[in-house]
C-alpha cells in the first residue's frame, strides 16, 4: 500500500502530461486549416492577379484574359445597399437592446436577434425570393442587397449593444442631469462614445455579407455583364467563385482561386482592422479608471 502510492502518483502525473499534450495538439490541429487555406489560396491565386483581372469582364471559356470587374461592382452594390438598410435599423435596435434589456420587448429583441443569426443564409435567400423576386418576377441586385441587410442585422445589433454597455453610465446620467433630452443625450454622448463599436460592427457585418454565396443563388443570381441597375441581376464575388469552381475548366478554376484571394484578403483585412479598433478601444477606456 505504501509502495503503491508513488506508482499511482506517477501514473496520475503521466495521465496529466498526456492529456495536456493532447490539448496542445488539438489547438495545433484547429489552427492548421486556417494557415493551410490562406497559404494555398495565395499560392494558387497570386499568379492570376493583375490589373486587368480587376478591370475586365469575364471572357468565354478558352478565350484568354478576362476578369471580375462585374463581380466587384455587384458585390459593392449588394453589400452597399445592405448597409444602407441594416445600419440605421441595427444601430437603433442595438441602442434599444442596451437601454431596455429588461422589458419584454427587449427580451423579444434579443431572442429574435439570436434566431436571425442562426437562420441558415440559404433560408434567408428563400425568404427574400418569396417577398421580392417572386412578386417582381425577376432576379435583381436589389433583392440581393435586402437579403444581405437581414444577414448583417444581428452583428450590427450585438456590437452596438456591447459598445454602449462600455460607455460609462456616469456620462449618460450626467448628460440627463444637466437637462439634455434623451434623444440629444443619445446623439451627442452615447453614439459618439460608441462610434468605434458601431464601426467595428459595420466592418464585421461587411466581412460576413461579402462572403455569402448561398442566398445570392436566387436573389442577385449572377450576371456576366457589367451592370449598375439595381433592378437587374448582378454577379458577386462569392457567387463567381462558386460558379467557376464547380465548372469543369482549368482556366476557370485558376480564376476561382484568384477571386478567392481577392475575397479572403478583403474579409480578413476587415476582421483584423475591427479587432485592432476593439483592442484600441478597450485600451483607451482602460485609462479612464
Amino acid at each position: 500500500m505504501i509502495q503503491a502510492a508513488p506508482r499511482r502518483l506517477q501514473r496520475r502525473k503521466l495521465t496529466n502530461l498526456f492529456m495536456l499534450s493532447l490539448c496542445i495538439l488539438a489547438t495545433l490541429l484547429v489552427v492548421t486549416p486556417l494557415l493551410w487555406i490562406i497559404g494555398y489560396v495565395i499560392q494558387q491565386g497570386l499568379p492570376a492577379i493583375n490589373i486587368s483581372f480587376f478591370t475586365q469582364l469575364p471572357t468565354p471559356v478558352g478565350v484568354p484574359g478576362g476578369g471580375i470587374a462585374n463581380a466587384l461592382v455587384g458585390s459593392a452594390m449588394t453589400v452597399g445597399l445592405g448597409l444602407l438598410i441594416a445600419v440605421p435599423i441595427g444601430a437603433l435596435a442595438g441602442i434599444y437592446a442596451a437601454t431596455h434589456s429588461e422589458t419584454s420587448l427587449g427580451i423579444a429583441l434579443r431572442f429574435s436577434t439570436d434566431v436571425i443569426s442562426g437562420v441558415p443564409s440559404i433560408v434567408m435567400g428563400i425568404f427574400a425570393y418569396t417577398i421580392i423576386v417572386l412578386p417582381q418576377r425577376h432576379f435583381s441586385a436589389f433583392s440581393g442587397g435586402v437579403v444581405l441587410a437581414f444577414i448583417m442585422l444581428p452583428t450590427l445589433i450585438r456590437t452596438t449593444e456591447e459598445m454602449i454597455h462600455l460607455v460609462p453610465k456616469s456620462l449618460h446620467e450626467g448628460s440627463l442631469a444637466l437637462g439634455a433630452a434623451e434623444w440629444k443625450t443619445s446623439l451627442s454622448i452615447i453614439i459618439p462614445a460608441a462610434a468605434n463599436g458601431i464601426l467595428t460592427g459595420v466592418m464585421l457585418a461587411i466581412a460576413r455579407a461579402a462572403g455569402e454565396a448561398a442566398p445570392m443563388l436566387f436573389t442577385a443570381f449572377g450576371n456576366p455583364f457589367f451592370n449598375l441597375d439595381f433592378r437587374q441581376p448582378v454577379a458577386t464575388l462569392p457567387h463567381t467563385i462558386f460558379v467557376y469552381a464547380i465548372a469543369p475548366y482549368d482556366d476557370w478554376h485558376a480564376k476561382a482561386w484568384a477571386t478567392a484571394l481577392v475575397l479572403i484578403s478583403f474579409v480578413l483585412l476587415l476582421n483584423i482592422l475591427a479587432r485592432l479598433i476593439t483592442w484600441w478601444r478597450m485600451h483607451h477606456i482602460g485609462t479612464y479608471h
Partner: protein, 328 residues
C-alpha cells in the same frame, strides 16, 4: 451647469417646426427605437409565415409523409419526399460534431487554462479568423485540396479495413458525405471552441484553487471539476456548432457530390437539406416542385428555432450560476 444649459439653448433652433421637433424629440426618438426593434422581431415572424405560406402546396399534397418518403421525382411522378436530404444532413452533421467536439474542446481548454498570456490573444484571434473565412472559400479548398489530400485516402482506408459494414461500402468517391462532414468539422471548430473557451473562463477561480489544493493534478482539476461545472455551457456551445453544421450550404454543395440515391454509405455522394435547395431552387419548374423545396427550408427554419432556444437556455443557465464570480 448654467453654461451648459445656455449652450444647448443657443444651439436650439428658435422658431417653427424645427423648434417643435427639438422640444418633443424624445417622443420621436423613442418611436424610432421601438420601430427598429419591432422590425427585427417582425422579421423573424415574417420569415416563418412566408415559409409556411409558400410551402402550402407541398404540405397539403404530402403531409407528414414528406418527412419519411424518399422519392424525389420532379420529372415524371411529380412526387417529393425529403428523407434522403434529412438523413444526409443528420449524417454530415454527426460526422462534423464527432470530429469537431474533441478538437475544439481540447483547444478551448488550452486557450483558457494552459496557454501563457502572450499566446492567448493571438491564438484566440486565429480561431476567430477561422470563423471569418467565407464558406465558398472552404468549399473551393475542400474540393481541390482537402478531398484529394486527406478525405480520399481516409475513405480508401476505411473502405479497405471496414468495407464489410454498409456504412463504409464502396466504391470510394472523392465528393461524398464523408467529405462534407469532415469539411463541416473544420467549419464548426471556431464556433464550439470560442464559446467553450468563454464558458471555461467564466468558471470561478475558487473552483480551480479548491481542486488543486486537494492535490489534484491539472488534468484532474479540468476533467473532474471544470468540465462538469461547465457542462451545460459546453453543451450549449456544441448545439450552436450543430446549428451551423445543419445550415451550412455552399461549402457542402461543393463537396458532397449531389446525388439523389438513398444509400447508407458515408463514402457515397449525397445531398443535404441545404444543398438540395441551393442546387435545384432556380431549376424548379413547377409550383409544387418549388413549394417542396421551400418546405425543406421551413424544416431548416424550425430546427434553427429549436436549436437556438436550447443553446441559449443552456448557456444562460450556466451564466446565471457563475454570476458575481465571473473571471474575465
Amino acid at each position: 451647469m448654467n453654461i451648459a444649459l445656455n449652450k444647448s439653448e443657443l444651439s436650439a433652433p428658435r422658431f417653427g417646426v424645427l423648434r417643435r421637433i427639438w422640444d418633443h424629440g424624445d417622443g420621436l426618438y423613442r418611436l424610432l427605437l421601438i420601430l427598429a426593434t419591432l422590425f427585427v422581431i417582425v422579421l423573424v415572424i415574417a420569415i416563418g409565415y412566408e415559409l409556411w405560406q409558400s410551402s402550402a402546396l407541398a404540405r397539403l399534397a404530402f403531409g407528414w409523409k414528406f418527412l419519411i418518403t424518399s422519392t424525389w421525382d420532379p420529372a415524371i411522378e411529380n412526387t417529393f419526399g425529403a428523407l434522403p436530404f434529412i438523413l444526409g444532413t443528420l449524417i454530415t452533421a454527426t460526422i462534423a460534431l464527432l470530429g469537431a467536439i474533441p478538437l475544439s474542446i481540447g483547444s478551448a481548454i488550452f486557450l483558457s487554462e494552459l496557454a501563457p498570456d502572450w499566446l492567448r490573444q493571438p491564438l484566440g484571434f486565429l480561431v476567430e479568423l477561422l470563423a471569418a473565412v467565407p464558406s465558398v472559400v472552404y468549399g473551393l479548398w475542400g474540393l481541390f485540396v482537402y478531398i484529394p489530400v486527406f478525405v480520399r485516402p481516409t475513405a480508401q482506408f476505411l473502405n479497405r479495413e471496414l468495407g464489410f459494414l454498409p456504412l463504409f461500402a464502396g466504391p470510394v468517391f472523392g465528393p461524398s458525405r464523408l467529405a462534407a462532414g469532415l469539411l463541416l468539422a473544420i467549419m464548426v471548430f471556431p464556433t464550439i471552441a470560442a464559446v467553450s473557451r468563454d464558458v471555461l473562463r467564466s468558471i470561478p477561480n475558487s473552483q480551480r484553487e479548491a481542486a488543486l489544493a486537494l492535490g489534484a493534478t491539472r488534468w484532474e482539476m479540468i476533467a473532474q471539476v471544470l468540465l462538469p461545472y461547465g457542462a451545460s455551457g459546453l453543451l450549449g456551445a456544441i448545439i450552436l456548432g450543430l446549428g451551423r453544421a445543419l445550415g451550412e450550404t455552399i461549402a457542402v454543395t461543393m463537396v458532397i457530390g449531389n446525388n439523389l440515391d438513398l444509400s447508407f454509405s458515408l463514402l457515397h455522394p449525397g445531398y443535404t437539406m441545404a444543398s438540395i435547395i441551393a442546387n435545384e431552387f432556380t431549376e424548379a419548374t413547377s409550383d409544387l416542385y418549388l413549394s417542396a423545396l421551400i418546405e425543406i427550408g421551413l424544416i431548416l427554419f424550425a430546427i434553427t428555432l429549436v436549436i437556438n432556444f436550447m443553446a441559449r437556455l443552456l448557456i444562460w443557465r450556466m451564466a446565471r450560476r457563475t454570476k458575481g464570480e465571473v473571471r474575465l
